[in-house]
């Protein structure tokens, strides 16, 4: 018989992993929403976030909250800068040119961090090692912090996108980019804001990843970034709530496989499930199939 406590414990782990994926997946899906462009540099922005957090907390000895803010603001500025310098001139170019540019920006960020810091870094324990036990399931302070902070950020994002004027402008741009400027919406500003918002969330994800899985290296963003992208696609890319669902689903599947099978099977099962899902629902869970115009 499967122990219920074990299941709950694993569910907690899945929630932790899923919330980190979700924060990154949101950046992919928001950018896709406004520009229909896949920002492949996003995983590397997440990596830069982890390194900024490392710099602030370990090298500058800042406490947790200022270090987190440092990482988030730093990546938000990086995201806005990347958009202005590399992507904006390509708005009217073929879509694939923007994708390739994003890949190149990602490699550039990896190499730049590699140039500054050639070795993997480990993060010392920054939070007190407190655990609470509740009905045999133990919660660590770290898990509670990662999950609640991520959920909090997602709620904030949901409010920004669905209940503010900026969010309305974002949704309007994703609906029809040619008409919206005629309504007096500053399209370029909103697009840059979207990039900064997504990158800031990735910075938060990087900080929490560095806390929870405490070895960081310049290539850590590649795999995590692709997985977050998968989460966004599974949820239906361009759909914000879908990205959250996809991320928690992916985190759940990964933890489930790791709990019952040798760890080398994790990617195999996760990606096979992904293939099966895409064959059944080619547009993701919440994505809408747009009718093709002739």
């Amino acid at each position: 018989m499967i122990d219920l406590r074990y299941v709950l414990q694993q569910a907690l782990n899945a929630l932790q992993l899923g919330s980190i994926y979700a924060l990154i997946a949101l950046g992919y899906t928001m950018v896709y929403g406004v520009l229909t462009m896949i920002n492949f540099a996003h995983g590397d922005v997440f990596m830069v976030g982890a390194f900024l957090f490392f710099t602030a907390s370990v090298l500058l000895h800042l406490p947790f909250v200022p270090a987190l803010l440092f990482a988030m603001i730093g990546t938000a500025m990086l995201g806005a800068a990347i958009e202005r310098i590399a992507y904006k001139p390509l708005r009217s170019a073929p879509r694939v040119s923007a994708i390739i540019t994003a890949l190149a920006v990602g490699i550039f960020l990896e190499s730049a961090i590699l140039a500054v810091n050639p070795y993997p870094r480990s993060i010392p324990q920054l939070l007190p090692d407190t655990t609470w036990s509740f009905g045999g399931v133990s919660f660590s302070l770290l898990q509670v912090l990662v999950i609640s902070l991520s959920l909090g950020l997602m709620v904030v994002l949901d409010i920004v996108v669905y209940h503010t004027r900026v969010g309305m402008a974002m949704r309007a741009i994703s609906w029809d980019r040619t008409i919206v400027p005629l309504m007096g919406v500053p399209v370029n500003l909103i697009i840059t804001f979207t990039f900064a918002l997504g990158a800031g969330l990735a910075g938060a994800a990087g900080s929490m990843y560095a806390l929870a899985y405490p070895v960081i290296d310049p290539y850590m963003g590649v795999m995590v970034g692709w997985k977050a992208f998968i989460a966004a696609v599974v949820g239906g890319i361009g759909n914000i709530r879908g990205a959250m669902i996809g991320a928690f689903l992916l985190g759940g599947v990964e933890i489930l496989v790791a709990a019952f099978l040798p760890s080398t099977y994790r990617d195999f099962v996760a990606f096979s499930l992904l293939l099966a899902l895409l064959v059944l629902r080619p547009h993701g869970i919440l994505g809408k199939a747009r009718p093709q115009k002739v």
Partner: protein, 359 residues
């Protein structure tokens, strides 16, 4: 250019001209290692350029000509590499050059082609970003499967293959790849590939058998990726699942888009430029090239500038690609072809006034 085109304009001389180029290349590829015309290091670079040309031009078929975005090319390469290595190591037990080596390479290509068939089926229903995910999933599954098969030594990788890949072999397979791709692209099916890129629905309505074309494209493309994998394995004499990860795919993608989409000449240029830049941007080459400088200046440059190149070269290449994308969004030779790859009837057709040519 005009002079060459005029020379190529007549039927027989053009065919002879092409044959002469190919034969001269083959002779050269044999003579260089046998006569030791250039040092071993440059011979190695030439081998890698050849393998890269096979990889880039075959990926260009899917990404450039058909307009899909595959990120799984390294996966097909892995299938070919493992298949051919198992054959030469464990079935044929090759210890030296043998007629069975091309058989093993061919088998590797066929195995990869079979996998290409598997990826082609999801492409009937999904396009664009979703198909990119399918190819990514394929890559990860291949890697994961290899890691879990003890017969293939799992994650630690296969060693012990003899260095059977020589410059003439690489040249032979490269010419075969370019020849096949060129004939495929300018065949009736090939026009269908371009039609699918421009508008799949319209192509379907106009009578292009889109499913059949897609299957053919994926099988041909992955076949040559498998061939390149086999050559790669028998040159490095060591392969592991980590040799074929997503970064390898990204490298091939860089070559394709640097050189230019939908252009065989572009793939040759991109693959060559990529490999040459990676090799040239090293401290050693710059130290050698500037060794004629008077000593204080040389010492300063060597210590302060050149010694950082090992780190900087990885940043220079993506920057170059970003610049190419900003100024030539389709790559250096995007949508343009070297005249030697274009069939005569297309050149003549384009010269007629008032007629549109190829896109």
């Amino acid at each position: 250019m005009r002079a060459i085109q005029d020379l190529l304009g007549r039927r027989m001389p053009r065919r002879m001209f092409l044959l002469a180029i190919v034969a001269a290349g083959l002779a050269l590829s044999w003579a260089i290692p046998h006569g030791n015309w250039v040092n071993k290091y440059i011979q190695m670079i030439l081998v890698f350029i050849g393998i890269n040309i096979i990889l880039a031009s075959s990926l260009n078929l899917v990404n450039g000509y058909m307009g899909e975005f595959s990120v799984g090319h390294a996966g097909f390469m892995a299938v070919g590499a493992y298949m051919s290595s198992v054959l030469t190591l464990k079935v044929f037990h090759l210890t030296g050059p043998s007629a069975l080596f091309p058989v093993a390479i061919l088998a590797g290509g066929l195995a990869a082609g079979l996998c290409g068939l598997l990826v082609a089926f999801p492409s009937f229903r999904t396009r664009g970003d979703y198909l990119a995910i399918v190819t990514l999933a394929f890559l990860m599954i291949v890697k994961s499967v290899i890691e879990n098969i003890p017969y293939l030594e799992g994650a630690s990788g296969l060693v012990g293959m003899k260095r059977l890949t020589t410059l003439p072999w690489v040249y032979f397979w490269m010419v075969l790849t370019l020849w096949t791709l060129r004939n495929f692209i300018y065949s009736t099916y090939g026009r269908g590939i371009l039609a699918i890129r421009e508008d799949e629905l319209a192509a379907d309505i106009m009578g292009v058998d889109t499913r059949r074309v897609k299957v053919l494209v994926f099988v041909v493309s992955s076949f040559f990726a498998g061939v390149a994998g086999g050559l790669y394995a028998h040159y490095l004499q060591f392969i592991s699942p980590r040799s074929f990860d997503i970064l390898k795919s990204t490298d091939i993608i860089l070559m394709v888009y640097l050189g230019g989409i939908a252009s065989l000449g572009g793939s040759i240029l991109g693959a060559t430029l990529y490999q040459v830049l990676m090799e040239v941007l090293r401290p050693g080459t710059f130290n050698q090239a500037f060794s004629w400088l008077p000593d204080p200046a040389f010492q300063w440059l060597s210590d302060r500038v050149f010694s950082h190149l090992d780190v900087w070269r990885m940043m220079i290449l993506p920057l170059l690609l970003i610049l190419v994308m900003l100024f030539r969004p389709r790559g250096i030779m995007g949508l343009r072809e070297l005249p030697i790859f274009v069939p005569l009837r297309d050149i003549q057709e384009r010269r007629k006034p008032g007629r549109g040519g190829e896109p």
